[in-house]
């Protein structure tokens, strides 16, 4: 099942994009925005951010989903428009990359799929309860793992994987609840 940018827009409709989507686009294109942020810390390069998210989605999404790159990029563009949320994403991705380099010698996105999966579990992101202000495991769960699972399963394409074309959070109208199974 192919994910598209239209699915990304639908996922954003469920959870909301910030008012500065263009900010996110510029950042993702890596056009000179890799300097220190307002806190004075060096954030991970925005291109790396996208790579990391796509690499994580390749682990988190089932194999019957295709078109992950465009979907994740589109979704992330919108989410980075919410500045506080964007800061949380950057910090969590930074922590994930730090662990990847420390334990596996490479950035997360550069690891084999199996190693990415293993790393996420070794961090504890599989069993952690999401918490935007919690431990590394809880923040990776909130800002990376659940961010991507929310994007997929609140979108119509993700819902259809389960048999629910209008999942909770998606404004899919008032027809589907009346229809029988296909």
């Amino acid at each position: 099942m192919e994910l598209t940018r239209r699915d990304a827009a639908a996922a954003l409709a469920a959870v909301g994009a910030g008012g500065a989507v263009a900010f996110g686009v510029d950042r993702l294109r890596g056009d000179g925005s890799d300097g220190p942020d307002a806190s004075g810390q060096d954030p991970p390069a925005e291109a790396r951010l996208r790579e990391t998210f796509v690499a994580a989605a390749e682990v988190l999404y089932p194999s019957e989903v295709s078109g992950i790159g465009g979907f994740v990029e589109g979704f992330l563009e919108g989410r980075l428009g919410r500045r506080d949320h964007a800061d949380g994403i950057r910090a969590a991705v930074g922590a994930l990359d730090d662990r990847a380099v420390s334990w596996y010698g490479e950035r997360f996105a550069a690891l084999a799929v199996e190693d990415r999966d293993r790393l996420l579990r070794e961090i504890g992101a599989d069993t952690a309860e999401e918490d935007p202000e919690g431990t590394t495991a809880e923040r990776v769960r909130y800002y990376v793992v659940n961010e991507l699972l929310l994007a997929l399963y609140a979108s119509p394409t993700g819902g259809e994987l389960v048999g629910l074309e209008n999942p909770q959070g998606h404004p899919g109208g008032t027809e589907s609840y009346r229809r029988g199974p296909k």
Partner: protein, 532 residues
């Protein structure tokens, strides 16, 4: 007036009416009076930005957030106690702010049945209301127009109506059709549900677009909330002051003189007015009266009867659910489309009235399951497919009778962020309600068995919970020794003070109370206008 802090939250001079509470009751009264009178509305909570509703929806879906987080609940501001045998989770479903708990509510709006107004006479238990259905009936119709109700006149057990609903009912769901076959075999009638939710564009607001998170937040604005009437009142000239919790009502022997409220910078102001309408719901209204004690009224304001806070009632939930061996198409929308009131009017002294609900959201929501799962990828998808798709569920609302040992009081040992004793919801449930839950469970089991479901869960007498409908605590009546307010919700003790809340209900019936609150608010507004 627009903006959240008109004139620095200072009082309005020359006000005719001061409304305390910007939920549906206060909003409707303010709207009815604002064109002809100077109206001020004070609310303890903030004015929420409609643009934030998608973020609130995300909080509703993500496991990091509890229900009170969705609408910025504050543990100190909203502190409460529960000294009864049953814990009462007061903050689970209430919102402080402009719009009140209608921001969170499910939006089900039925009229009480005719016998609900005469429980003592018709069922042999509890008091009669001092008014009958016929007296409230035109106000019900007006309330349906104000809120915008989608419904159909297909409920053979509902009280008589004089005109169609403002909007057509939402069509039955696919799973309603599955239930219908089972109910037909058991000779149980199903019918539509009146929803305060737009089935088509209404009053400038969107039709429902199916976000599926009605409770606790509707991002589309298709579900009615009281910001509708607050904004309308403001357009007529009313002043609305948010984040202005009223600390006490200053009063003489027979009149309220001022509402003393606090502001975020710590300043206290006095809002004077000719008339005061307290519309803070069935918990905060008695609390404010009890906090307003004085030398003349040492037991609290409007409490010469000693009944302020007494007779606290809620509706109790009874539920049963299970799984079928076929798809049931749940969780597309967050509202109900079918109910049955067939057993409602069988009520007597032994068994109370109850209504049956057929869920459209039985079983887990896949996205919520995904966010709490301990796996991902193929394993997660397999689990979601296994968990989703074949669930069915039924609910019921059950009446509880008023009891003196069920009450809202003050907890002297615990204070809120302004140093005021917090409300203590001492909730006690009698045997009749527990028997009624058992009866509702029996009917639910019969329907699900006929449907061929494997029953996997049940909420019965031992683990029932409240529906967050706070009733009875400022009882309506004609005898000042037996009630707090008169049939038009004016206090017996103070000639310029109305208590417009479900606290006025002498009995609760078994339907969701907000339409009755709205009808009584419109009726009270007329009385306030006459008095000015």
């Amino acid at each position: 007036m627009s903006g959240s802090a008109p004139n620095g939250r200072r009082p309005v001079s020359g006000a005719d009416v001061c409304v305390v509470g910007a939920g549906p009751a206060g909003a409707l009264v303010a709207d009815r009076l604002a064109a002809e009178h100077e109206v001020v509305v004070l609310d303890a909570g903030p004015r929420f930005d409609p643009a934030d509703r998608l973020e609130r929806q995300e909080r509703a879906i993500r496991p990091a957030y509890d229900r009170p987080d969705v609408w910025d609940g504050d543990d100190e501001r909203d502190a409460h106690s529960a000294s009864g045998d049953r814990f009462y989770p007061l903050n689970h479903a209430r919102v402080k702010g402009i719009g009140g708990s209608t921001l969170h509510w499910q939006g089900m709006v039925m009229r009480l049945h005719e016998d609900d107004f005469a429980s003592g006479s018709e069922r042999g238990v509890g008091p009669d209301w001092p008014i009958d259905y016929g007296e409230v009936r035109p106000y019900y119709a007006a309330a349906e127009r104000e809120l915008g109700v989608a419904g159909s006149d297909d409920n053979p057990y509902a009280p008589p109506r004089e005109e169609p609903y403002p909007m057509p009912a939402f069509a039955p769901s696919y799973s309603d059709g599955l239930f219908a076959d089972a109910c037909e075999a058991l000779e149980i009638d199903m019918h539509s549900v009146p929803n305060a939710r737009n089935s088509e564009r209404y009053d400038g607001r969107s039709a429902c677009v199916g976000y599926g998170t009605c409770q606790p937040v509707c991002p589309a604005g298709a579900k009615y909330d009281a910001t509708v009437h607050i904004e309308r009142a403001e357009s007529k000239g009313a002043t609305v002051i948010d984040r202005a919790p009223v600390q006490r009502l200053e009063h003489g022997v027979d009149r309220v003189r001022a509402a003393v409220y606090a502001t975020p910078d710590g300043t206290e102001y006095r809002q004077t007015a000719e008339a005061f309408v307290v519309a803070c719901g069935g918990v905060e209204t008695p609390r404010l009266l009890l906090l307003s004690d004085s030398e003349h009224y040492p037991d609290g304001l409007a409490n010469e009867s000693g009944l302020v806070g007494r007779y606290f009632m809620d509706h109790l939930f009874a539920g049963t659910g299970g799984v079928l061996e076929e798809p049931t198409r749940q969780n597309h929308v967050g509202f109900l489309t079918s109910e049955s009131h067939q057993f409602y009017d069988d009520a007597d002294g032994e068994i109370g009235p109850f209504k049956l609900e057929f869920f459209n959201y039985g079983g887990p929501s896949p996205v919520e399951t995904a966010l709490s799962a301990d796996t991902w990828g193929e394993d997660l998808l397999d689990r979601l497919r296994q968990d989703y798709g074949t669930h069915v569920g039924m609910g019921a609302l059950v009446e509880q009778l008023p009891r003196e040992d069920s009450y809202v009081g003050l907890d002297p040992d615990r204070t809120d962020d302004h140093g005021n004793p917090v409300p203590d919801v001492h909730w006690t449930v009698g045997d009749r309600a527990l028997r009624t839950i058992e009866r509702a469970n029996e009917v639910q089991e019969a329907i699900l068995s006929e449907l061929g479901a494997e029953i996997t869960w049940q909420v019965g007498p031992d683990d029932t919970g409240p529906a967050y409908h706070h009733m009875g605590t400022t009882r309506m009546g004609t005898d000042p020794e037996e009630s707090v307010v008169d049939p038009r919700l004016r206090t017996h003790d103070l000639g310029n003070c109305w208590l417009v809340t479900s606290g006025a209900f002498p009995t609760g019936g078994a339907v969701n109370p907000t339409l009755t609150i709205a009808a009584l608010a419109l009726r009270a507004a007329k009385d306030v206008r006459t008095s000015l």
